[in-house]
């Protein structure tokens, strides 16, 4: 076992896959000589060269499209969005081409591409560098979306994403790169479509993903003191949502609370609530509560910024209220 940073775990995944499979490459801004904006690809260009770790000009839509064309014709590119927000520029290519071509071409082409990078609210980075694009892409058919949250799951999931023959959007979080965790020395992968049960419990199901997992766990520590026994599920897969795991949990607890960092409107929670209503409404003792970010562009001011996202206090209060304690 080895204690490493999240960014090292991601790098290790990329390195292992690139060394086993020569068709895997990394394409993005500053991924090569600069080492990546969050050091995920640091020094990989020394090992693999400038073609396999390709530094691009600033042209997201076109280099993402180029990666898609390369994926159609036999390569397995990993596109790095320097900040996932920049992928807004590549929306045309991601939605129309990555999402649609395998289907529209009637199976003529597959697109084994991974599009990864940092997203989420950081520390006073300003509105444009604090975006959460998972909900914008959620509705695009043909995409898989994954959000890693620990060095362990980051490595296992990224390896699986690289091996997957479908387009995978792989969301990392700006504030989790320096998280350290012990991870195994042996090779391992994790399934892209399974949620993680972080803590088993019986009183309420708390569903979350990415950085909010840690706010939830902090809240759970305090709730345990109040004799509440929550079950915590980290979604991992944002598209498709692992409804099996969620259903089993709600059938046990009969109550749920969703804690997310994306905006409230059209959020991941809204999708889960709709599906729970469709599938197991009768198992619910009370409406599902969702705690989401405000529908406001993230302000620069620190205090204002903190008030646009959910904190542990709010989680504790919401659950106490939901459980009538």
């Amino acid at each position: 076992m080895n204690k490493i940073f999240m960014f090292e775990a991601l790098r290790s995944a990329i390195d292992e896959e690139m060394s086993k499979d020569e068709t895997v490459l990394v394409i993005g801004e500053d991924v090569g000589h600069y080492g990546g904006s969050y050091k995920v690809t640091k020094d990989l260009h020394l090992k693999y060269g400038d073609l396999r770790i390709l530094d691009t000009p600033i042209a997201e839509n076109s280099f993402t499209g180029m990666a898609i064309g390369a994926a159609m014709t036999g390569l397995r590119p990993i596109v790095e969005g320097m900040n996932m927000g920049f992928l807004l520029l590549a929306f045309n290519q991601i939605a129309n081409n990555a999402g649609m071509l395998p289907y529209t071409s009637g199976g003529n082409y597959q697109i084994p591409i991974v599009i990864r990078g940092p997203g989420g609210v950081g520390r006073q980075l300003g509105a444009e560098h604090s975006q959460r694009l998972e909900t914008y892409f959620q509705a695009v058919p043909g995409l898989k979306i994954v959000a890693c949250s620990t060095p362990y799951n980051a490595k296992g999931l990224l390896k699986s994403a690289i091996r997957d023959n479908n387009p995978v959007l792989f969301f990392e979080h700006v504030l989790l790169y320096n998280m350290k965790q012990e991870i195994p020395d042996y090779e391992y992968t994790l399934p892209l479509d399974k949620a993680e049960i972080v803590k088993e419990g019986k009183d309420i199901t708390i569903i979350t993903y990415s950085r909010m997992r840690y706010h939830v766990l902090k809240a759970v520590d305090r709730l345990i003191e109040k004799n509440v026994d929550p079950e915590v599920i980290d979604l991992i897969s944002l598209k498709p949502i692992d409804m099996d795991t969620i259903i089993k949990s709600i059938q046990k607890t009969h109550k749920a609370c969703i804690v997310e960092e994306c905006m409230r409107t059209g959020g991941i929670a809204s999708e889960i609530i709709a599906r729970v209503n469709e599938l197991i409404f009768d198992y619910l003792d009370s409406p599902i509560i969702r705690l989401s970010s405000q529908d406001i562009p993230t302000p620069y001011n620190g205090l204002l910024e903190q008030n646009t996202i959910v904190n542990s206090e709010q989680i504790i209060n919401a659950i106490i209220k939901q459980l009538n304690i």
Binding site: A70, S105, G106, P141
Partner: protein, 336 residues
């Protein structure tokens, strides 16, 4: 009988090549004429963009490629697909929405795909196919340099219209193609109209081939109604790309005899303009050239015409007789 031809000998072609080029242009012309008929008979739907008049460009470029070269098109893709080798029956069946279509009926007119013939599509949005073409060119370099498992360097051809040359993706891709010396040829079919927008009203610089200068890419203008000129420049560009000398931009001056699509009333283009271009029909002029230079006999020409007519009839029959996709297969091809 000596008939006037507007084309002169700019390329040396053999009798065999003359047969291939003539058959391919005629196939393109008759296929599109048939599409118009089928559309008005209610066999084909949606937005259908016919290529009539531009055949010299498709044939002149694509018939000089190898099977392992890639072609990437746009929504005016039927004839590019045929020139690349996709059987007319598969394209026609696709247009009829049948399971036997090259895109299994899921794509339609604007989304012709074939991995067997290295045809990368078929795109509805302007310019969104350009990065795809670039990706195939990048893949070719990668296969040669990293995977080492090819001898001849495959190249990538990107077909776009005049309208696309004002789009960001065009410039972004010219830059990357030049920067990395990718084996790609950008073929701009300048038919002077983007639906109802005349190129003069959309472009600050009229000469599209000049736009390549900004990226150090050789830009050539060619008479797109003269197949021999097209053949000459395309052979040079193909040689350049295949030998590591990077991209070329070819601007082919051409014209679509029909409206933008079968739904376009085509009221903006003047009768004089249309007649001027129809008089330079690339196929009629090529036939006159062939006859004047004794490349093919009248008999051989008639044989080709008969053959093409039969291929089209067979394609239509195949499309009509083919089954629709099964409803239970609705979600097929979504994930792998």
């Amino acid at each position: 009988m000596f008939q006037k031809s507007t084309i002169t000998s700019n390329a040396i072609i053999t009798n065999e090549e003359a047969k291939i080029f003539y058959e391919d242009m005629l196939l393109g012309r008759m296929f599109e004429d048939t599409c118009a008929k089928m559309y008005y008979q209610g066999k084909m739907f949606g937005f259908v963009h016919l290529y009539t008049g531009q055949e010299a460009v498709s044939t002149g470029i694509i018939k000089n490629l190898k099977p392992y070269d890639y072609v990437c098109s746009n929504y005016r893709d039927h004839v590019h697909a045929l020139s690349k080798g996709i059987p007319p029956r598969e394209v026609m069946a696709e247009l009829f929405g049948k399971e036997t279509g090259c895109s299994k009926g899921r794509g339609g007119s604007m989304h012709i795909f074939s991995s067997k013939y290295n045809f990368l599509g078929g795109f509805a949005f302007i310019a969104e196919g350009i990065p795809i073409a670039l990706g195939a060119a990048f893949r070719n370099i990668y296969y040669k340099q990293i995977l080492h498992n090819i001898d001849d360097l495959p190249i990538s051809i990107c077909f776009i219209g005049d309208g696309a040359t004002n789009n960001g993706q065009f410039f972004e891709c010219l830059n990357m193609a030049s920067l990395w010396k990718l084996p790609i040829i950008f073929v701009v079919e300048n038919n002077q109209w983007a639906i109802g927008m005349a190129n003069q009203r959309a472009s600050s610089v009229q000469e599209i081939y000049k736009k390549a200068d900004a990226f150090n890419i050789p830009g050539l203008e060619v008479d797109g109604m003269n197949i021999l000129e097209v053949i000459k420049v395309s052979r040079e560009a193909i040689y350049r790309a295949r030998n590591g000398q990077g991209p070329t931009l070819i601007e082919a001056l051409t014209y679509r005899f029909r409206g933008h699509s079968l739904a376009d009333p085509d009221e903006l283009r003047s009768i004089e303009e249309k007649n001027f271009w129809i008089a330079r029909d690339p196929i009629i002029n090529f036939v006159n050239y062939i006859k004047n230079h004794n490349l093919l006999s009248d008999d051989e020409i008639k044989k080709i015409e008969k053959k093409v007519k039969l291929r089209i009839e067979e394609a239509v029959k195949f499309a009509i007789d083919s089954p629709e996709p099964k409803l239970q297969d609705l979600a097929k091809y979504l994930f792998y």
